[in-house]
Assembly symmetry: C2
Amino acid sequence: MSDIIIFYDIPSVNGTGWSPNTWKTRLALNFKGVPYKTVWVEYPDIEALSKEIGAAPTGVKGDGSPSYTLPTIYDPKTKKVISDSQDIAEYLDATYPSGPTLFPKGTLALQIAFQEAFTTTALGSLFPPLLQESITILNEKSAVYFRQTREATYGKKLEEFSPYGAGRNEHWAKVRAGFSTVAGWIKKSGGVFVLGDSPSYADLSVAAFLVWVRSVRGADSADYKAIQAWDDGFWGTYLALLDKYTKPDA
Amino acid sequence: MSDIIIFYDIPSVNGTGWSPNTWKTRLALNFKGVPYKTVWVEYPDIEALSKEIGAAPTGVKGDGSPSYTLPTIYDPKTKKVISDSQDIAEYLDATYPSGPTLFPKGTLALQIAFQEAFTTTALGSLFPPLLQESITILNEKSAVYFRQTREATYGKKLEEFSPYGAGRNEHWAKVRAGFSTVAGWIKKSGGVFVLGDSPSYADLSVAAFLVWVRSVRGADSADYKAIQAWDDGFWGTYLALLDKYTKPDA
């Protein structure tokens, strides 16, 4: 029996994680330098796995029953199972206080609000033009499940969120405007990261979405290259500096 | 000639400021302990005043022409005129670095994002049920101007945002839910304020809206007493601790 953290993640066909939310946890684990081992879980298996290991539900389904999501970690050191990327990040700082800190003293409330602001400002527009392509890098089993559940929730096909054609340019223009606003906030720090010269969890939570876009569209795609060049290269530099935290477990 | 800052504010019939945005600046000036003198400006006079003193426009009107807003300050020490509450707050920290700091090192970007998150989470729902009553505490000249310009912008009467009736309870329930979310963020700091034990500009920008509600509805109103009791008294305690920064200039 190993005594390192088990990190339950959703696989993509690229051999890396698929979900931006699980990317947040991988980035946080690597940032903290806490050893861990990945266990890959396909979408339809998340609920059974969560119940088996005693993970708490993270939300409620449309029918009122509990819903289970990844990321989840199990830490043999404390015998705790934690779900929800934010709760995991707070747990890691509390349990492994040595080394780099995800939430430097006094910044936890602000970092939670930052993620909310990032979500409303940039992410609402990011999903439509990527949703239909994102499932092409899921394994078949997860792709079928993801399509069925999301289309039932939203009442429309994934392809209808941003149909191919001129409208997509408008969608990408909105994404760019949102990220430009966020870049404006970050630059106010006087450094390249939200808190200035050192990255914190707020940066990792933004980077998780850039990694997701790169993974969905491809590092050599026109879309991803465009993002790297937005705001005078801000996002290209940003992710280049944080990319070391995307590495798989050793 | 006095050499203290001139603070241009919009008067209410209560003898205090009317606008939540100018309240942010009064709270910030008092927090910093920087001496200032208030000059009251009615809404229809803001544009002429701004041009006269050389204040920069803070936005663009529907017809594309520049728009001018308060708060604005003139600092005879530096001979600078600054508009926009955020720009004023940053100016005050930069120009008067001794004493309390509105944006402690590393927190500026996060505090800007916090205000954005507070706006989308709580303020969108706060205006509808207060808009029609808010102009009853403006002087006649400003009330007429405010009604004309806002009704032209939104294409409906101020009374239509939250008509009296059962729908208002739903509006207030949304306000309460939004403030409860924000209280949840702040509590994460481990103290009573966003950064923990000491207030910062993020707190003053929230308090500005509580002061506005108190001013519009009255300190003894059922609405304001309800807000003070929300989240186990969180907001009552919060504003009680910050209320010393609402005092008028000496």
